[in-house]
């Protein structure tokens, strides 16, 4: 079904408009931009919530827009929204709202800062909506710039290296994607005579297996780096460690998701054969990454890095689920992705608060925070428990679905992956112990959570519990689109 009113474009350009307003107002006073940003983010959230509520669990596009754009290249402005995208968009909007709140006290050039946040949101939403490969690529790259500046300008000591590392890593990947897209486009054009970048059309391209493999690798290069999958992860910890809190929230919440989305929306359906061939490799890397990241996380001293590595480990879980290639596992992966985004966002937020209060992020100097900041610590404990996969909290729901889905296909993978649960316990408990327990830290700021922080943390906590105990709504939204994509993948 299609609706005349271009809701999707509205959704897409609302943040942009907000960003422009932020820029303009940012020239003058410093409090206006954040209000603008807040309102915009809230607006986007409302709209996306609306879209989710409007969802009827059907396989087709709920909303679809298609306009002429660049005839010379056969590029069209095509947006489409189904359950999958709407879930991720809702997540994006929600986290962005929090990101704005988190960086409420942004002193340095707030106008630009919030503008960048909003542009980032727009790019992420665009990625989740675009159905024309060039349009998709445009948004895909557009995500880099704001993130780059958020890290490189508002970051910590080694921000330049971190920012450039992030930029280069992701750019290399996405330029491979670009090359593949162009050549695929030409191939399809030569075959059919119509030169187009439309996803649906390109799916029909006839490719030899080797061609498929090459294209698939180029596509995956972009997505795998974004996810990030071991061994292409090394930009993430730096980006997290050097970036501002909002940046970390967005990284964990928005950017990482787009990688997986790209795989299941573009890479797999376009090149099903190649995908099938390479699943074991994917799974292998996922498993290695799962444990490797956990081990590295266990060795870290900087709590932000611990969280960063933990999210690498979790994304390994997600990819494993994708590699299993069946309904349950995929639903699990997507669910875990959403839940992990929320959990990790929560963790990063609290970590930022801890740093504000103690001026340190090192396990050696922290400890005994429960004494001075019981509420904050309670939230931290909750998020940690969710992240180590305590049943009844967010992450577990996704993980168990993945494990079940994987076990039905490849028992061995699942059995190995179960070990990951234990590993996550080791580093998470170390994290908790180093920050909350013991008594070797005298925070200079004794103030426990204040109202704005409550405002940020409560929704997160509620979601962590709610999604842990009753994830059905999300799963219902995901079911149909995923099964459709699985069918395209061409396997029962």
């Amino acid at each position: 079904m299609a609706i005349d009113f271009p809701l999707l474009s509205l959704l897409l350009f609302m943040p942009l408009a907000g960003a422009l307003v932020c820029l303009v107002l940012g020239m003058g006073n410093s409090t206006a931009p954040r209000w603008v940003a807040l309102l915009t983010a809230a607006g986007v959230f409302v709209v996306s919530l609306l879209l989710c509520l409007l969802q009827t669990p059907t396989a087709g596009w709920l909303f679809y827009e298609d306009y002429r754009w660049i005839e010379q290249f056969g590029v069209r402005y095509t947006l489409g929204l189904d359950g999958l995208s709407s879930v991720l968009i809702l997540l994006t909007a929600f986290l962005q709202l929090l990101a704005v709140l988190v960086s409420w006290r942004q002193e340095r050039a707030p106008g630009v800062f919030f503008a960048l946040l909003l542009v980032l949101e727009m790019a992420a939403i665009g990625v989740l909506l675009a159905l024309d490969l060039i349009l998709f690529y445009l948004f895909w790259e557009l995500m880099l710039i704001p993130m780059f500046f958020l890290i490189g300008v508002w970051g910590y000591q080694r921000r330049f290296q971190a920012a450039v590392k992030f930029f280069l890593y992701t750019l290399i990947g996405s330029l491979c994607l670009l090359l593949a897209v162009i050549s695929l486009y030409l191939l399809h054009g030569d075959q059919t005579g119509t030169y187009t970048f439309a996803l649906e059309a390109l799916k029909q391209t006839e490719l030899s297996t080797t061609q498929e493999l090459i294209f698939f690798f180029c596509f995956m290069a972009a997505f795998v780096v974004k996810v990030p999958l071991f061994p292409f992860h090394s930009w993430l910890p730096d980006a997290h460690a050097e970036g501002p809190a909002a940046g970390s929230v967005d990284l964990a919440g928005l950017l990482l998701k787009t990688g997986v989305y790209g795989m299941i929306r573009f890479a797999f359906p376009l090149f099903p054969v190649a995908a099938q061939k390479t699943l074991p490799v994917l799974a292998g890397l996922a498993l290695v990454g799962l444990f490797y990241a956990a081990w590295v996380a266990y060795q870290q001293v900087d709590i932000k890095r611990i969280v960063a590595f933990s999210s690498i480990s979790h994304m390994g879980f997600v990819i494993l689920g994708l590699a299993a290639w069946n309904q349950t596992a995929w639903e699990g992966s997507l669910l875990l992705m959403v839940n992990h985004a929320i959990t990790t966002a929560g963790l990063f937020v609290v970590v930022a608060m801890i740093e504000q209060r103690t001026g340190s992020r090192s396990l050696d100097q922290l400890g005994g925070l429960w004494k001075s900041h019981p509420n904050m610590s309670a939230f931290f404990l909750l998020f940690c428990m969710a992240s180590l996969g305590l049943p009844g909290l967010a992450n577990f729901a996704g993980e168990i679905l993945i494990l079940i889905g994987v076990f039905t296909v490849k028992p061995l993978w699942a059995v190995i992956a179960v070990g990951g649960i234990l590993f996550s316990a080791t580093y998470t408990l170390r994290l908790v112990q180093g920050t909350l327990w013991g008594n070797n830290c005298e925070p200079h700021d004794k103030q426990d959570l204040h109202s704005r922080e409550w405002l940020v943390l409560i929704p997160l906590a509620v979601l962590v519990v709610a999604l842990g105990c009753y994830p059905q709504p999300v799963l219902d939204l995901l079911r149909e689109p995923l099964s459709a994509l699985l069918l395209v993948g061409g396997m029962p």
């Binding site: 010379q72 630009v112 690529y137 445009l138 557009l142 450039v164 290399i172 330029l175 670009l178 162009i182």
Partner: protein
């Protein structure tokens, strides 16, 4: 030489006359701004004429053509010069240039460029090129008492002279081989397998050297960074954009044709393109002086344009023109920003001097970021679609390897393009405090940025225009 041909040459004539007039006038009225603005006006008028006045005849004495292509180039260069003049207003005051001379030389250069890209015979080509070069000799060393400017002028002079000699010898040899100065005919004559062909080939070799110097291809690029660094920022801007573009535009029609001789030349170009892209990229990495960095970046971009030149055909030519426009916009913008940052104690060139300028000048810093990122080719800036068209053309023309190398180069380029940007946005501010830019400058640069962004989101208009020019 009849009246039609004069009419057809109207823009160039306007430019030449204008420049001489200003030169004269400058002797009496010593008001810098006035002359700069007059010059800009003349250039704009010329551009308008070229754009909208239909020339009575296309072929002018077999030396120049008034084809849509040539007129498009004229418009482009005239506008560039006009913009350069506008951007120079404050600069010229600060360094107390002779306003009249400056403006007239600029116009003179414009005339040269438009003649150059309109040339259909070697004579015309040589004439145009020399007119341009002579003007540039002076402009580069225009800042009086500035040793670096002098050095840059000297270096450019030596190379210019040698290149002129090469070019002239090349023309002579080709003429000997083919017996015509007409470009097309000469190139066709190259095919003929008669005894004089080696002579022709030698001529082409020399020609390539001359061209390589003018648009600074590796290994003829070594002068570039020094000259750009020493020359006044606006002049460097002109050097990097129009001066190179004109030469490229002049040689584009030659390579559109195919054939055995051309194939050999393309092989050379292929080599040069790869060398230029890679060497330029790597040489730019360790730069800490923004003008030198931009010099190397221009080298790299010439490498990209070589790709289009090699692909040739309609695809290649269109990609080349589109790229040329976008690149010129961005590069001009970048040099323009440097111009506006200049003050009594000189231009700021080192990244250390750029540190934290964003705090003082948010607008211009943002603009510089836009320009540099567009050069990097990041969407949604025009640079992306320029590169996109280029690589796509390369793929179609069967030069995938060039596209891949180009991609690699542009990945690495990120590093040197973002370094100054990050420096700008550093938290700690540099001691130097620059005075604010004139409104005209800001407007102009904002205009450039706007165009870049618009073309980045919606390149269709320019694309269709280019398609119109190159059927």
């Amino acid at each position: 030489m009849n009246q039609e041909s004069l009419q057809s040459l109207l823009p160039q004539i306007l430019l030449a006359l204008g420049s001489t007039a200003i030169l004269l006038g400058g002797a009496w009225v010593r008001n810098r701004r006035l002359w700069l603005l007059v010059g800009a006006l003349v250039a704009i008028v010329a551009a308008l004429v070229a754009a909208f006045v239909e020339p009575p005849q296309i072929d002018i004495l077999g030396m120049y053509s008034a084809s849509a292509y040539a007129r498009f180039c004229t418009v482009l260069w005239s506008l560039t010069v006009a913009a350069t003049l506008v951007i120079s207003c404050r600069y010229v005051d600060i360094f107390r240039f002779g306003g009249g001379e400056y403006a007239s030389l600029m116009l003179f250069a414009a005339a040269g460029m438009s003649l150059l890209s309109a040339a259909t015979s070697f004579v015309g080509l040589f004439l145009g090129l020399e007119v341009l070069t002579l003007a540039l000799y002076i402009l580069i060393a225009f800042r009086h008492g500035d040793t670096r400017g002098a050095e840059a002028g000297m270096k450019y002079l030596v190379f210019g002279a040698v290149a002129t000699a090469f070019l002239a010898f090349a023309i002579a040899l080709i003429y000997t081989a083919t017996g015509t100065f007409n470009l097309q005919a000469a190139a066709v004559g190259l095919q003929a397998g008669d005894g004089l062909r080696p002579l022709g080939l030698a001529g082409w070799a020399l020609l390539l050297v001359a061209v390589g110097f003018k648009i600074s291809l590796v290994p003829f690029h070594l002068w570039t960074p020094d000259v750009y660094q020493g020359a006044p920022a606006p002049v460097s801007g002109l050097l990097a954009t129009a001066a190179k573009g004109a030469v490229l535009a002049a040689f584009l029609p030659l390579l559109v044709m195919s054939g055995e001789g051309i194939a050999d030349i393309k092989a050379i170009l292929w080599l040069l393109a790869i060398a230029t892209m890679l060497v330029g990229t790597f040489a730019a990495l360790p730069q800490t002086n923004i003008k030198r960095m931009l010099a190397y970046s221009s080298v790299v971009h010439m490498g990209y344009l070589m790709i289009a030149l090699i692909v040739a055909g309609a695809d290649g030519s269109r990609a080349l023109l589109f790229y040329l426009v976008v690149y010129s916009l961005a590069t001009f913008g970048a040099f323009g920003i440097i111009t506006t940052f200049a003050d009594e104690n000189g231009e700021i060139q080192d990244y250390d001097d750029l540190r934290g300028l964003a705090a003082l000048h948010p607008r211009r810093s943002a603009l510089l970021a836009v320009f540099l990122l567009s050069l990097t080719g990041i969407p949604p800036l025009a640079g992306f679609f320029a590169k996109f068209g280029l690589f796509q053309a390369a793929f179609r023309g069967g030069y995938a390897e060039l596209a891949v190398i180009g991609v690699i180069a542009s990945v690495i380029s990120v590093y040197y393009y973002v370094r100054p940007v990050i420096a700008l946005y550093a938290p700690e501010s540099a001691s130097v405090c620059r005075d604010v830019a004139a409104r005209s400058e800001t407007l102009l640069l904002v205009g450039c940025a706007a165009v870049i962004v618009i073309l980045g989101v919606y390149p269709t208009p320019l694309l269709s225009l280019v398609a119109l020019i190159i059927p």
